[in-house]
């Protein structure tokens, strides 16, 4: 409703929509945000919560910036920067959490936010949850910055635009390409974390990446090829990451493959040996391991939206997750990987945790409250998508340790199978068991050789059954920490950046070629 206090404005708007721009305060004499004050705002928020009766509180003041450049068919399609600044405070009262966020960066507003968080926590008592307690972690005063050579925000946007325009032009020059796209995105996230226990941590995380894809449109279907992976490859670090992709060198190849797919044979419906390229294995890990080992899901905290997990804590240390080749870790310290940081959003230091050892399930992703309930050490895996979101358990770099083979050896030792590359679709049930993935491209493998190209490849399975079929894994030379910048979880949906080290791998007797 247009406010009653301004009837003239409503009448004006309804008649013509035209309005003269009033002269507000001219923009042009401002100063930048004083970063030195952001610890003060976080401390004010914590103090506000404590003054209102909270038994514990923590707060994150945050200043984040994202730059995104999208190109399509030789033109810049979108060029934008988004900036978020604010403070979010979490208060524990009577064993229940409350959280409040504001973008009004003043000490008074931050203190009020802390009070609001405590008020909200108090209201939680109407429908009580088992009392929250926090596992002890070191009380740290520290700072961290992502190691990087070339700050992506210091690289001229014109250089980025030129690169993307060039590669999309090159892809469109291939006959049959209907759409050629390329993207670069960079993030700078500065956080100032304070807790009532004495934490005082500042961090600057630097991330960037991108990629390109070409789409060919046929009579009744489309085919797409991407590089370096579907939706692009992302990592922590500087612009050197994007330079390493060498996008121009790959543009003609992926465009030609997209066109070739339109006339390729359909992936057969069969039970077949399946060889997965490493970025597809990375997504397989993300969906069928990474989400399943989130302790909040195992405890039922995400049941309604994201689902639970087939994993039962009583079987931690004994459940057979896969073959003995399967060794999975969650490592938030891995250089350059997208799920790397100094401290999580509870102030717990980044660390490496074993998840699956020789095929047996041995670890989970956890935070201070979930770890306390499970009687486990806190994993330092709690993060939030912005100052205005509640931190929750998120994947760090959940990846598979390399084996001792190679893709060439895997192919040469496969008599009858399908080699699939680059994700196209992904779907898995709410317990992380029944999955179906589609890939952009596949090749038949016959008698140790890669044969004809196959279109619309899909495969399906049940998580522990599928992982038990893993029998070959490439070695360290082909181990890549793939980044997933679009991991969704929570309500409202929070997006997290996660990493997934993986190599090419082979699985025996998998159902492929599911048809619609």
């Amino acid at each position: 409703m247009v406010p009653d206090a301004t009837p003239d404005r409503r009448a004006q708007q309804t008649v013509t929509g035209r309005r003269q721009v009033r002269q507000g305060t001219p923009v042009g004499c401002a100063t930048t945000t004083r970063r030195g004050r952001l610890f003060d705002y976080a401390e004010a928020a914590v103090q506000g919560a404590l003054d209102a009766g909270a038994t514990y509180a923590d707060a994150r003041a945050l200043l984040s910036r994202e730059e995104a450049v999208f190109a399509r068919d030789g033109l810049i399609e979108s060029l934008r920067t988004d900036e978020h600044a604010g403070v979010g405070v979490r208060a524990l009262m009577g064993g229940a959490w409350g959280f409040f966020a504001t973008n009004d960066l003043t000490e008074a507003s931050a203190r009020s936010a802390g009070q609001q968080a405590a008020t909200i926590a108090r209201a939680s008592a109407m429908v009580p949850f088992p009392d929250v307690s926090l596992t002890d972690v070191p009380v740290v005063q520290d700072s961290y910055e992502t190691p990087h050579d070339e700050d992506p925000f210091a690289v001229a946007i014109s250089e980025k635009a030129d690169l993307l325009v060039g590669v999309t032009t090159a892809m469109r020059e291939v006959d049959g390409i209907a759409v050629a796209r390329a993207t670069q995105r960079s993030w700078s996230t500065e956080k100032w974390f304070v807790s009532s226990q004495g934490h005082r941590i500042s961090q600057r995380l630097v991330e960037c990446g991108g990629g390109m894809d070409a789409t060919a449109v046929g009579d009744n279907e489309t085919q797409r090829r991407s590089y370096p992976q579907a939706f692009g490859q992302y990592a922590t670090g500087g612009y050197e990451i994007i330079r390493d992709f060498d996008l121009p060198a790959h543009a003609p190849r992926i465009a030609e493959e997209a066109v070739a797919l339109l006339s390729a044979e359909e992936c057969p419906t069969a039970e077949s040996d399946l060889v997965l390229e490493s970025s597809q294995l990375a997504l397989q890990i993300h969906e069928s391991v990474g989400h399943a080992i989130e302790l909040d899901r195992i405890l039922g905290w995400e049941a309604a939206f994201a689902g639970t997990s087939f994993l039962d804590l009583a079987k931690l240390g004994s459940l057979r997750y896969g073959s003995e080749l399967m060794n999975i870790t969650a490592d938030a310290t891995l250089p350059r990987a997208l799920g790397t940081f100094g401290y999580d959003d509870e102030g717990t230091p980044a660390q490496q945790v074993d998840i699956v050892r020789d095929g047996t399930w041995v670890g989970v992703l956890s935070g201070r409250d979930s770890a306390h309930i499970a009687g486990l050490p806190p994993g330092g895996m709690v993060r939030a998508d912005g100052y205005n979101r509640l931190p929750m358990v998120r994947m760090t770099n959940v990846g598979i340790m390399p084996g001792d083979s190679s893709l060439d050896e895997i192919i040469s030792e496969t008599r009858d199978g399908v080699y699939m590359s680059t994700n196209r679709s992904w779907s898995i049930d709410d317990k992380r068991l029944n999955f179906q993935f589609g890939c952009e491209i596949a090749w038949e493998v016959k008698n140790g050789r890669r044969g004809r190209m196959l279109r619309n490849p899909t495969y399906t399975g049940i998580t522990p059954v599928f992982w038990s079929k893993l029998d070959m894994l490439a070695g360290p030379d082909e181990w890549v920490a793939w980044g997933t910048p679009n991991c969704g979880k929570g309500q409202p949906m929070q997006v997290a950046h996660t990493g997934h080290p993986a190599t090419p791998a082979r699985f025996r007797n998998v159902r492929v070629g599911v048809r619609g």
Partner: protein, 461 residues
């Protein structure tokens, strides 16, 4: 800042004035000049969420935020930026970022210009009491939902959101709007099953946590100890939640004019692509709708008939796609639409005449009753073949009756084919807001009976 300072008429008026000042300040900062076009959107949001799991509240949050978005073209060189820093420094840097980025961008040959002064309907989709309710009001709905299950565990959320938005551009076009939305969405769980309940309304006070919880608890109990089912083609009765997901996929991937212009949409205008019983339209101004009366470009929203008697009729356009297609915008620009294209987000699916879901079930000789589709992904946008799973209550129907629960099933099915000629056999007379894959409050629809649905897997793989 207090918990209630945004709800009253005086506070609302003051907030709108503040947002207008932010818009004016940004436009003034850009300066006037030949070749400079700009649009600014300032939005103030109040939002509160109460999440529950294991039958208790475990996440309880609130936020007050203001964001300002600017898109500007300098002789056709276009850039955009947004900020939540609304002080002088933040707005100054917002303008600087846009100017700096645009300066190095090539001229955009498809820049459609900003919206000229245009009538915008004075819709009111806001409920003052919902704009900023106390957390206890949400918790009371949770309490009722949880209490509806005697021996089940409950999980879900209640939220209430209120938004005030001011749009202004360099052509003198101006629009103001506000809207609210409240949702209760949750499941009850047994040790082997789950059932879902959902309600969305403009008013938090219109939600009924007890009734929603009872539906979820009953579905959970009815679907306990489910058995597997062989893959194959089955007749289906789909709940409004399933229909909402289908409608959202048709809208995002098909009726999106950008996808159509690029040859990636299934839409063939004027063709009988759907059953003659299928009606689909977008109507932001409908009395039942949520949202603003204008789009991200400031264009007024009007009713857009997408499918009439099964014949595909229109595409959703923004100014950019309209320019390319030589037509007019339909008012469906979204934020980021230059990349993703225009999308209808106030969808309505036509009702039928069946009194309730039970009547639809009674018409089925052998088939499935499905509560929700989950984790749906398009395998190919052109054919709209989608894979996903059933969730929160799936049942076998035999000779007009539900005979047993079945485990969650995987389907791989073309949504266009599923609603194709001869396949939409019946729909309920009642329609409501349903929760789809892209979220609540976007689709108002009935439950439907379809002739065939392709089940490709179950609990065994």
């Amino acid at each position: 800042m207090s918990a209630t300072d945004g709800a009253g008429p005086a506070a609302a008026a003051a907030e709108v004035v503040r947002l207008e000042r932010l818009c004016d300040q940004v436009l003034a900062g850009l300066g006037a000049g030949a070749g400079i076009e700009a649009q600014v959107i300032a939005t103030a949001s109040r939002w509160g969420l109460t999440r529950f799991a294991n039958s208790g509240i475990h996440q309880h949050v609130g936020e007050h935020t203001v964001t300002v978005s600017l898109q500007a073209a300098f002789d056709g060189r276009v850039a955009a930026a947004s900020t939540s820093r609304t002080d002088d420094a933040g707005l100054y840097e917002l303008v600087q970022r846009v100017e700096g980025a645009a300066a190095v961008r090539p001229v955009d040959p498809e820049w459609p210009g900003v919206t000229p002064p245009t009538d915008v309907a004075d819709v009111d989709h806001a409920d003052p009491a919902t704009h900023e309710p106390a957390p206890a009001a949400r918790a009371a709905h949770v309490e009722a939902f949880v209490a509806a299950g005697e021996s089940t565990r409950a999980a879900g959320y209640v939220d209430a959101a209120g938004t005030r938005t001011v749009f202004a551009n360099s052509a003198g076009h101006h629009a103001t709007g506000s809207w609210t939305r409240a949702t209760i969405d949750g499941i009850h769980q047994t040790t082997t099953s789950a059932g879902k309940g959902h309600q969305t309304s403009r008013r938090l006070g219109a939600l009924d946590g007890g009734a929603t919880g009872r539906r979820a608890a009953r579905l959970a109990a009815d679907s306990a100890d489910a058995g597997d089912l062989e893959p194959g083609r089955y007749a289906v009765v789909l709940s409004p939640e399933c229909v909402a997901t289908i409608a959202q996929f048709l809208a995002f991937y098909g009726f999106n004019a950008k996808a159509h212009l690029e040859g990636q949409s299934f839409v063939e205008l004027g063709e009988q692509q759907f059953d003659e019983a299928f009606q689909l339209w977008d109507a932001a101004l409908d009395d039942r709708a949520l949202g603003l009366g204008f789009d991200a470009e400031g264009s007024p929203k009007r009713r857009l008939q997408l499918v009439t008697d099964g014949v595909t009729g229109n595409l959703a356009h923004d100014r950019r796609t309209a320019g390319r297609a030589g037509t007019q915008t339909t008012g469906h620009a979204i934020a980021g639409g230059e990349v993703y294209g225009p999308v209808p987000t106030n969808l309505f699916v036509g009702a039928g005449d069946a009194p309730d879901v039970g009547a639809l079930v009674a018409q089925v000789d052998r088939g499935l009753l499905v509560t929700e589709l989950n984790y749906c992904r398009v395998l190919d946008p052109r054919t709209q073949v989608v894979t996903g799973l059933t969730r929160n209550g799936t049942f076998l129907i035999e000779r007009g009756e539900v005979t047993r629960p079945v485990t969650n099933l995987r389907f791989t099915q073309s949504f266009v084919e599923g609603l194709g000629p001869g396949r939409l056999l019946a729909a309920t007379a009642d329609t409501r807001f349903a929760d789809g894959e892209f979220g609540p409050g976007m689709v108002h629809c009935p439950a439907v009976r379809l002739a065939s649905w392709n089940i490709t897997g179950g609990a065994r793989g």
